[in-house]
């Protein structure tokens, strides 16, 4: 489906909004599972966003310049004995996109402040 240039689908807006909510709680960078939990809690859904849907949307947001991502330092997961995380962060363009979408009346699935999830 072709979409208007610069417009975001509801999931993309929700991810950006959830990223802003995390930032308000002092979490600048987040991994996929954390944002999936944030999305679930914000929308009172029963399930987390599907793997394919979530990571495809994150990839699109990164391509559009609304998110950036870095792989964490390998020493951190080695010390914690867990897999390495890809850490995303919302960009100023992402923040603007959420504001624009809100002003245009596009649905915002994740409220900006939902202080219910701690980092898993």
């Amino acid at each position: 489906m072709r979409r208007k240039a610069g417009s975001l689908v509801p999931l993309e807006i929700a991810i950006c909004s959830a990223a802003l909510a995390l930032r308000e709680r002092g979490i600048e960078q987040f991994h996929g599972y954390l944002i999936a939990k944030e999305l679930k809690d914000a929308s009172d859904a029963k399930l987390l966003t599907a793997y394919g849907t979530l990571y495809r949307a994150l990839g699109r947001l990164e391509q559009m310049g609304l998110m950036t991502s870095v792989w964490e330092d390998p020493q951190i997961p080695a010390d914690a004995n867990r897999p390495r995380r890809r850490l995303y962060a919302i960009t100023p363009d992402g923040q603007t996109a959420v504001a624009t979408a809100s002003a245009a009346g596009q649905p915002e699935a994740a409220p900006l402040a939902v202080p219910r999830v701690s980092e898993a």
């Binding site: 599972y33 793997y51 394919g52 867990r82 898993a120």
Partner: protein
């Protein structure tokens, strides 16, 4: 099933759909899902939630992998052949007596499979046709072939998967009658030819796509691929309809 086993299913699926992708994208997606699975299990996620996250993302996984697939790599060819083998083995398994009985004895199994077969075929051919018209030079001459393909092929693939899986279920309902029907054998042969033609386009002809991507008149062999595709898919539809009127 334990959450660890469900994570194993998710891991297996991720390895499957990323198998033919460029190494950097493949490794990044696998590592990202691995991290997510680890967090899920550590967080106490039930296995049904992990499996649901896999199932609900299947279409996105497939369309994403097709979008980023480098069709010139040997891994892609291996992935394609492997998928065909899995389908063939599934087909053989479905045609065994117990599975066949389940299909026959259920009130809704055959009608549901039939509807899915039809919807899948409409999606497959409907999404393939714009690309074929472009290759033939009949329409969309101003649109680069790669752009049109990236928009239509993922949906055509989803339609193809629905068609083949539902077709396998229909075959399982009465394998003996289907196997003895000459029109069914003809349809399968046409299907194989159509898939081979599509594979040749994506794996061989498209290697030089940068030479003619935006050209209004495409090379004769590329045009021939479009004509062949249309001819084969129409023949496939006609053969499918005639199955009900031929054989025992």
């Amino acid at each position: 099933m334990s959450p660890r086993a469900a994570a194993g299913v998710a891991r297996w699926w991720t390895r499957l759909y990323t198998a033919g992708l460029p190494v950097d994208l493949r490794d990044a997606r696998r590592a990202e899902v691995e991290s997510d699975l680890w967090e899920s299990v550590a967080d106490g996620a039930p296995s049904r939630h992990i499996l649901a996250r896999v199932a609900l993302g299947l279409a996105d996984d497939l369309t994403w992998s097709l979008t980023v697939m480098d069709i010139s790599t040997r891994d892609t060819a291996k992935w394609s052949v492997g998928s065909l083998l899995v389908l063939l083995l599934s087909w053989l398994w479905l045609s065994q007596a117990p599975q066949s009985a389940v299909m026959r004895e259920s009130t809704w199994a055959v009608p549901v499979a039939l509807i899915n077969h039809l919807v899948g075929l409409v999606l497959l051919v409907g999404m393939r046709l714009p690309l074929d018209l472009r290759l033939m030079g009949w329409a969309f001459k101003g649109v680069p072939v790669s752009q049109l393909a990236s928009r239509t092929v993922p949906l055509a693939l989803v339609g193809g998967i629905v068609t083949i899986v539902s077709g396998m279920a229909l075959y399982a309902a009465d394998p003996a009658r289907m196997t003895s029907n000459p029109m069914f054998a003809f349809k399968i042969a046409v299907l194989a030819a159509a898939l081979m033609n599509a594979w040749i386009f994506h794996a061989v002809l498209a290697r030089r796509i940068t030479d003619w991507d935006s050209a209004e008149n495409l090379p004769a062999i590329v045009q021939a691929s479009g004509y062949t595709s249309v001819l084969l898919w129409i023949t496939l539809i006609v053969a499918g309809r005639l199955i009900g009127f031929t054989g025992n």
